[in-house]
Structure formats: C-alpha cells, structure tokens
C-alpha cells in the first residue's frame, strides 16, 4: 500500500525516522513524498528495499548514503544527491547540482537532465548515468565504478583519476591531469549496454568513447585496474 507523506506539513525528521524504521521485510514498500519544496536531506540514510517517490525538487544531499532503496526524484536535486551511496538506485528526472554521487561506493545513480560540476567526485564503485551533460571536474580523483555521460563533459574530466571507467558520448572540453582516452573493448561495450539499459537511455554503446587513468600520477598498488 502506498504511504503518502506531506513534507511541508509533517517535517523532515519524522519522514526520515519513518523511512529508517522500515525493515527488510516491511510491507510498507512504496512511499510518496509531496511538497518537498527544495528541502535538504530528503530520504537520507535509507537501508531497506523500499521505493520512495519525491514529487518535486529537492535541496542538498537527497538520498545520501542510500542502501537498497530506490529513490525517484520527480524534479531537480540540489548539491550532493546520492552522496556516498552504497547500493540501491536513485533517479533524478530533472537536473542535479554539484557533486552528484560523490564518494559513492555502489548502486546506480541516474540523472535524466544535466549534472553540474564535480559529478562523481571521488567515486568508489558507484555507477552514474547522466542523460545530459556534466560540468567541470567530474570524476575528480575517481577510484572505481562507471560514469556514463550521454551528452558533453566540461573541463578537466577525470582529473587525478585513480581508476574508474568514464564513458562520454559527446565532446569533452578538456581532460584533467593523468586522464586519457582509452580503447573501447568488447567488455566495455557490454558494461555500457547494461548500464544504458538500466538507466532507460536509448543511446548506443558504440557512440561512446572511454576515458581512464594513464597511471602516471599515483603509486598505489593497482587492485582496481581497468
């Protein structure tokens, strides 16, 4: 049964407390949040296989630290959406502001509009699919995971990247330090096809270029080498 929560009327703490109270075997699996009005920290720290639908635009840190849950924002999201996500899915129908998916360890973040600067900064295993463009310094110091950009990337893509696969269909304004274009091998096409499919994007994997680390800048043991 769908639970509807009016954020303006009932407040943020109660909302997040109610969502945190859901166990793995909850029967309240479907939540609708109305009147988000740009609020911060909507649906953060979830850890249950529930579906949360936010009807409107949100502020900072939406769905941060998400585990298991599916959070769908029917609007745009402010800075730090899905920051440090561990698993689950976050979908933003509109645009996302700075550092979307920052430090994410796992799960899938889909942004159907554009993401601004620092998308996927320090990503650690998350998959991010942006239907539009990403701003400057995206995937800065990325460590693991995949960033898929169906539009264009801004300045200094993948600056100081450790490891992570960056797929861009459009133009890249400039590559950051130690980030280079890499060969697109069959296994990359397969990874990309799967991510595009899960992100509801009809772009063809063959249209993308892959970028990654030249491995000239760091001296750690390369456990994650792609």
């Amino acid at each position: 049964m769908m639970q509807t929560y009016d954020l303006q009327a009932n407040g943020l703490r109660e909302l997040n407390a109610a969502l945190h109270a859901q166990a793995n075997d909850t029967n309240q699996t479907s939540w609708e949040i109305v009147n988000p009005r740009g609020s911060h920290a909507v649906a953060v720290g979830l850890d249950a296989p529930i579906e949360v639908s936010v009807k409107g635009s949100t502020g900072y840190y939406t769905a941060g630290m998400n585990k298991q849950a599916t959070v769908h924002v029917h609007g745009s999201a402010g800075p730090g959406v899905a920051e440090n996500m561990m698993s689950g899915t976050v979908v933003v129908e509109g645009d996302a502001s700075q550092y979307a998916g920052a430090t994410g360890h796992g799960g899938l973040l889909v942004i159907k509009g554009n993401a601004s600067s620092r998308c996927g900064i320090s990503m650690k295993g998350i998959n991010i699919v942006v239907h539009g463009n990403v701003g400057h310094m995206s995937a800065f110091m990325a460590q693991s995971g995949n960033l898929v950009v169906c539009g264009d990337a801004g300045d200094a893509l993948g600056d100081s990247i450790y490891e992570a696969r960056l797929f861009v269909r459009g133009s890249v304004k400039s590559l950051g330090a130690d980030c280079i274009e890499k060969e697109m091998r069959p296994e990359h096409i397969e990874i990309l096809r799967d991510l595009l499919d899960r992100a509801g994007c009809d772009a063809k994997p063959e249209e993308f270029k892959r970028y990654g680390s030249a491995r000239q800048l760091y001296n750690f043991k390369i456990d994650n080498a792609y």
Binding site: G38, T58, Y60, G78, S97, Q98, S117, H136, D155
Partner: protein, 309 residues
Amino acid sequence: MCGIVGLFLKDKALEPQLGALLTDMLITMTDRGPDSAGIAIYGAEDTSASKLTVQAEDPDTAFDGLADKMAAALGGPVTLTRNDTHAVLRVPAGKAEEARTALREVAPDVRAMSFGDTLEIYKEVGLPKDVAARFDIAKMSGTHGIGHTRMATESAVTTLGAHPFNTGLDQCLVHNGSLSNHNSLRRKLQREGIHIETKNDTEVGAAYLTWKMQNGATLGEALEASLEDLDGFFNFVVGTKDGFGVVRDPIACKPAVMAETDQYVAFGSEYRALVNLPGIETARVWEPEPATVYFWTHDQAPTPSKKAA
C-alpha cells in the same frame, strides 16, 4: 555560507509585491547566514529628484536638520524621509553623486548606503525577518531588487559589513563566497584613489567594479574582468537601474539556482528560496554556468556571455 536572492520583474502587475516576494525569499535563506541582512530595491523613478539612502547609529540626532544642511550644500531643495535607522534624502535630480560627496562634509557620522535615481539600500545586523520588518520591506514596490543574508568570514559583523554594497550610481552588489586577494587589491585600489571604508572582502569586490567602470568599462565588462582579477570564491548578483546580472567564479562551488517565467527572472542560493514565487512549478529552472556573465534588462533579451575559465 551566506544566502543571496534576486528578483527582476518583467510583469508590471507584480511590482507592488516586489518587497514582499524578496522578503519571503530572503527569510527562507536565513539558515545560510544569520549575522546581518540587507535588501536593495529599485523603485519608481521620480524625474524631479535623485536619492541618497543614508544610515546613522544615532538617527534621532544625526537626521535632525540634515535635510536643511544638505539643501544648503547642494543649493536646491532636499527632503528627508526617515525609515528606522535609515533615511532617504531626495535631492535635486542628477545631484546624487554630489550629495554623497557633500554628506561626508556636512555629516561625517552619517553613512551613505546608496545613491542614484531609483535605488534604495537597507541593511542592518540581525536576522532577515527582523531586518525586513524594521524597514517594512514587504510594503515596498519596485521593478527589481536583490537581497543578502550574511555569515561573516572575512570581517566584522557590522552594518557596513552587511550587503548589498553600492558600487556606483544606481548600482549594487551582493556576494556569496570569500575573496582571498582582497588585502592586496584594497591597497591597489586605494592607491588609485578609490574610497574603501572597511576590512570587508566584498567591499573590495564592489570597489573593484566601481574602479573598472570609472575607467570606461561597462558593468558587463567589469564583471568579466573580475573573473581574472579576483581570487577566491564568488557568486555575485548585481543590480543596475535597468537590470540585473549574475556571475559565478570558474570553480563555482557556491550554490546558485535561477528561474525564469514570463513574469520574472529570479536568483536564489538554493531552490528553497524560489518555491513561493508565482508559477514556479512551470518556470524554467537552471543552474547558472561558471565564469559566465548573465544579464537581463527591461530593454533587451538575456545575453549570457561566456568567458573562458
């Protein structure tokens, strides 16, 4: 932090609500900075008079007889309309700048907040709701305005450290961020003869724009030059007699959201600031690009000009 808002009306029917809309936007941003707050309002033009908005610590004494003294100094009629710690001096048309200079001689304890034909700036230490209430900003009408709520980082919490800053005739500026080269730039501008009153970083940014424009730059050119010469973080929203502009530094780590409908163009540090504007649900909402000067005037279509970072 700091919170900034701006509202530029296209629809004249909204003009009586400008003060109320801006006040609501600014109060929403209170938790981005509760130290001090200010609003700049561009009201109706009176072709017979220009305006000098002034402030005094002790307004009862300081404003007593001020109009007469200013009238004598300017050789023309001057009226004073007091609003709490502030007052608007209406001086003969075209004499706003002369009046600002004369004020320093006539009443050195009275501070000029703004000068121009339509601009009035009101700012004080305190929460946005309290500052807006003491000046009854919500009752003010106008064509456009900008507002700021401050979390001080670079200098003291004082009236003169509050924003908006007056940068020239009918021009003002609010800032979210911090400038890191303001000390060296202050020394340079002071050598050029530019008057700078405080240790505040934004005042230096404002003085920089004034200096550029005194040397022939348009406001747009001055803003573009600021991308080269100012070091640090900044989102600037500027007001002019006829327009409203936005520029972000190339790093763009300070948040910014814009919304446009047939009725208005609005700026907020966060989307929260915009949620009570009429028709926001169907507005075009976007994040302004880094190192890009955006400008709207009542005469022209928007003209964002890209500047290489």
